[in-house]
Amino acid sequence: MTMLEIKNLHVEVAGQKILKGLNLTINPGEVHAIMGPNGAGKSTLAYAICGKEGYEITEGSVTFKGKNFLELTANERAGEGVFLGFQYPVEIPGVSNMNFLKAAINSLRKYRGEDDMAAVDFLKLIRAKAEELEMKPEMLKRAVNVGFSGGEKKRNEMVQMAMLEPIFSVLDETDSGLDIDALRIVADGINRMRSPEKSILVITHYQRLLDYVVPDFVHVLANGKIVKTGDKSLALELEKNGYAGLGIDENAA
């Protein structure tokens, strides 16, 4: 079955038309990359898939594993197995990473009709995942993202993704603002999620992440639509010739 099918998607934010008839189909096991100039609607696409309030779908459909996704709230979509890696992860003072993840895991389990995870199993799991992604154990006790550097925040997103085990991950500019070491960790986190049953949508402004996470498909999003689709070579072409090479005016997107 298709993982995600988006047809003729139109999205408005505060009365402004951002997506104008976007089509995208993602099958299990595939990694897709969406590239595009600033303001093309990349983040809007991520939020529309994940159900953020204020992103009004005026036309079109989003179907996830055969279900009409537009009828579900953001947390129900997470329950169905979707994960959003944020471009700007939110700081939550007063909530420790540990408690946050425990609440998240148990909410997902509840949605799926499962019991809470035993405290011991949870601790084992979180320690293992933190170690795999080279996160210091003391970071787990700190408040979610509070005082974290840009790289630490993105690494934290990867730990969350690893813990929540989504079947479909949307990564919104997870690579932005990272130095090369942090980029490697993030890429490693994404690659660990690759499997024949799981799909990933990587949204990025630059090609460099795609050196580490090699996509099956690359799409170019401009002016609210996908204007070109190709394989990984399309990303390299963009890197070389810029969006202007495709006839896209980067400033007027």
């Binding site: 309030e53 944020f86 939110v90 939550i92 609440a103 929540l164």
Partner: protein
């Protein structure tokens, strides 16, 4: 006396005169005297009205016409309620009051050399001279406190001799039964922790929903030199209770006084804390949270007095208000001319979950010394929608996401508590508060 600003309290005087003979220990002339003096001081002033600055956010109109008669002693209630509220693993004495009277069957008062822990009425009958002295040294300051003294039905007394550290916290249960409808429950408590001694007290204020009763609880505290007292209060009364809780503390040299509170119930809750640092290096820490909705009115009133140099005080309060909830934080800091090198901080942050909620915050600093560090800060804000979406994207539903953020907002004032069971109870109550509203 400012008649315009106060309600007439004479109907309470009439009530007092008709009932004084049935109040506990009524046969003691000196106590009768204490009560009579208190009632005349009360009548002279009356009940505070909305024009009284200290009461401008709490409307006591309903006390004007209704007379809440003095509660009566009832037979022992079932013990389930104690088990329900008592904290696990806290092994110290349990002192239980039901409808304003000490209940010896439900209580478990452990004897310890050098420690007096007893009900006020027993203390008075066993040590009348000592008790008389305690009342003479009382620092009552306001008309409601006088009314409480005139009509008190009991209370507790804790006196700890020099150099004793209580190993386990004392738990005090203030329970109102269904029979407290239209009654007043008035307790007067005395705590005296002498030099280098220490104690921890956990207090629960509990009443059933839909029972309209008026609770007054006045505690006078002395924290001796290098002594330490921590008070942890949980106010979770029913929706019709009027809760007035006043703590007056006299902190001696290098004394350390901590007061924590959580208010989540009642139609009116008023928490007044008035500590005075009367010796060098005194240290006072006041922290708490109040969560209100649908007719809850929470009022925290502090009056922190620095009389001697090099004292530290901190006040930190968080308010969470949902639709129909109202709160006021009035925090006064007074630094006397002599109290140089005082360090006094105050902060009150409020979270409004609905546009139909109200939070008032009024810091008041009176500083007469010229070499001090005093700060105050107040904020009123709303939940961050980005944070809610972040949590929802991880699977938490709207309500759970809000509840987690509410708990986090409140958590900061409780995070330094070393008694784990107390800290967890505070966080649990704050975290489940949203859900308990349905």
């Amino acid at each position: 006396m400012t008649e315009k600003n106060h309600f007439d309290g004479r109907n309470y005087a009439n009530y007092f005169n008709a009932h004084r003979h049935i109040l506990p220990n009524a046969e003691l002339a000196w106590l009768n005297d204490v009560r009579a003096k208190a009632i005349s001081s009360f009548i002279e002033v009356g009940l505070p009205g909305p024009k009284v600055e200290e009461w401008k956010y709490t409307n006591l109109n309903l006390l004007k016409t209704t007379i809440y008669e003095t509660s009566e002693k009832i037979a022992t209630e079932n013990t389930d309620i104690i088990q329900k509220y008592a904290l696990e693993g806290v092994l110290g004495s349990k002192v239980v009051f039901v409808d304003g009277y000490f209940n010896s069957e439900l209580s478990d008062v452990q004897k310890q050399q050098g420690v007096v822990l007893t009900s006020l009425n027993e203390f008075i009958s066993a040590n009348p001279e000592h008790a008389e002295q305690v009342f003479q040294e009382s620092k009552n300051q306001d008309s409601l406190g006088e009314l409480n003294t005139a009509l008190m039905t009991g209370g507790f007394v804790l006196i700890i001799d020099e150099n004793i550290k209580l190993a386990e916290p004392i738990q005090i249960f203030h329970i109102a039964s269904e029979k407290s409808q239209a009654k007043s429950l008035r307790l007067k408590n005395f705590i005296n922790i002498k030099s280098t001694s220490s104690a921890q007290i956990i207090e629960y204020f509990i009443s059933p929903d839909n029972i309209d009763c008026w609770r007054q609880n006045v505690t006078e505290v002395i924290v001796g030199e290098k002594a330490k007292l921590e008070i942890y209060q949980f106010q979770q009364e029913g929706n019709e209770t009027i809760h007035m809780n006043q703590t007056l503390a006299d902190v001696k040299e290098s004394g350390n006084f901590k007061h924590y509170s959580l208010n989540i119930g009642g139609k009116i809750s008023r928490t007044e804390i008035k500590p005075t640092i009367n010796g060098l290096y005194g240290n006072v820490d006041l922290r708490g949270a109040f969560l209100g909705r649908n007719g809850n009115s929470h009022d925290v009133f502090t009056h922190m007095k620095h009389m001697k140099p090099e004292g530290d005080s901190n006040q930190s309060y968080r308010g969470v208000l949902d639709k129909g909830g109202k709160s006021a934080f009035q925090g006064k800091v007074y630094v006397a001319k002599d109290a140089q090198l005082t360090n006094a901080n105050q902060s009150n942050k409020n979270l409004l979950l609905d546009r139909g909620a109200e939070a008032n915050s009024k810091p008041e600093l009176l500083i007469y010394a010229d070499d001090v560090k005093c700060s105050h800060g107040t904020t009123v804000g709303e939940l961050d929608n980005e944070a809610i979406f972040y949590l929802k994207s991880r699977g938490l539903d709207q309500k759970a996401a809000k509840a987690l953020l509410v708990e986090a907002f409140v958590a900061e004032v409780f995070e330094d508590i070393k008694l784990q069971s107390v800290k967890s109870r505070y966080l649990e109550l704050a975290g489940s508060w949203l859900e308990s509203g349905d």
